[in-house]
């Protein structure tokens, strides 16, 4: 189960990176990165998964005393949550950049942003 999710995650990362590195359109590149991010998050959550356990929320089903035996590792989840938000932040920033580039250059082609080189 965790392995499947993890494998999927890795494949998504690769697909996302492929998209980001081969498409010349800025928006498509950003799409590629969001997919890669989803993949990363999937991998990360899968890392913390313990087969046969439940979410780290204490309620009647999971009393405090049994928590250690019943729940999965909560830390990766907390971290992934942060990672997701950060990912969105970066995506938004990239989108803002794409928009600016479009406004100043009239194109979204990454190949046209090459005044700086060497």
């Amino acid at each position: 189960m965790a392995q499947i999710a993890m494998a999927t995650g890795f494949i998504l990362i690769l697909i996302g990176l492929y998209g980001a590195l081969t498409n010349r359109n800025l928006l498509r590149m950003i799409i590629g990165f969001t997919i890669a991010h989803s993949g990363v998050n999937l991998v990360l959550v899968a890392v913390g998964y313990l087969s046969g356990r439940t979410a780290p929320i204490l309620d009647s089903a999971v009393p405090m005393a049994e928590a250690a035996e019943r729940i999965i590792d909560p830390l990766p989840q907390a971290l992934v949550l942060t990672a997701i938000v950060i990912g969105v932040g970066v995506t938004a920033l990239m989108l803002a950049y794409a928009y600016r580039i479009y406004v100043t250059k009239g194109t979204l082609d990454i190949g046209k942003c090459r005044e700086l080189k060497w």
Partner: protein, 86 residues
Amino acid sequence: MSENITLALSLLLALTMIVAAVMAVRGKRSLPIAILAAGLVSLLTSVQFLLLAAPDVAMTEAAIGSGLTTFLFFFVLSRVRGGVDD
């Protein structure tokens, strides 16, 4: 849910996600479709999170990763119509 069903579901999800992801990154499709496909990947990821017993993450991914992000994309897309040269 029994173990097997979860597994099967998980596999199915995985396959769908990969297909959607490929759709999103292949340059042939139009941009809105690509964005939607990416959103779909994100959404399916959040389902996967649920299966992995991570409801908090699932909610976040669904609300932020797939929802808001997709909207951000569309907002920008609508501003740069002319620049979409594919």
